[in-house]
Symmetry: C2
Subunit: 143 residues, 2 copies
């Protein structure tokens, strides 16, 4: 069961399950009935810039890894994901622009090292990613 790493946090999966059941209750009971498709559309188009960033290649991986490891260097991520440095740079710059990631340069070494970590805002996103990834992991197992 090691491969599922954080699911060895036994309480997590059941907690996610409980939670999703709760919000399902809220969503279905109160306010879904009169929701127009246009409202949904409007909502989503406001989110579009964020969706474009978050739901793009490597970004969930980066956020997730940073969330769990707290702090990673450029090279650690590059090797871990097998991503080219150009693309990794692009993504990190984008995440910085959106205030989700912050960069710290350690000039005391030679060559210098650059570390990245999530901002508070980025941590929120990382956290909100957990339920989704947890659900998806359940699906992978069942294939």
């Amino acid at each position: 069961m090691l491969y599922l790493s954080y699911s060895s946090c036994g309480s997590l999966i059941s907690k996610v399950g409980e939670f999703l059941k709760e919000i399902e209750g809220i969503l279905s009971s109160e306010c879904l009935k009169e929701l127009a498709l246009d409202d949904i559309k409007g909502e989503l188009s406001r989110l579009a810039p964020y969706l474009k960033v978050i739901f793009s290649r490597w970004v969930p991986e980066i956020i997730y890894a940073l969330y769990l490891k707290r702090r990673l260097s450029f090279n650690e991520m590059k090797k871990a994901f097998g991503i080219s440095s150009r693309v990794l740079t692009d993504k990190l710059r984008l995440l910085e622009e959106y205030g989700l990631v912050k960069k710290e340069v350690d000039t005391s070494t030679r060559p210098i090292r650059v570390y990245y970590e999530l901002t508070n805002s980025g941590k929120e996103v990382g956290l909100a990613l957990i339920p989704l990834l947890t659900i998806l992991k359940g699906k992978v197992k069942s294939i």
Copy 2:
């Protein structure tokens, strides 16, 4: 406040907040310490096929809308998202393959209409998407 549609379900936002705080506790207390980057990488590569599907353009929108509206026709989605029919077809086929969406053909009308809804598996994903989108909405407001 209407533009945030389901956030008029007042209790949802606070519930998401509570929950995220709870799992944050679980994640930080128990099992993060010894988690290796390689484990994270392994986990993510198992998820890769799902990540590729879920985290691709239009898919979050489709799942979210289907989750909230329960049932939409091909044309409703096409118009709502302003997506071309080729791409919409592609995405729906993919989601069907992954068992997240099911299709129902109503042949009693002329021309026929085709409706899509989430499978149970798809509903889980839709539900798990809510915390993430809720967090992102908070960020959009604050810009």
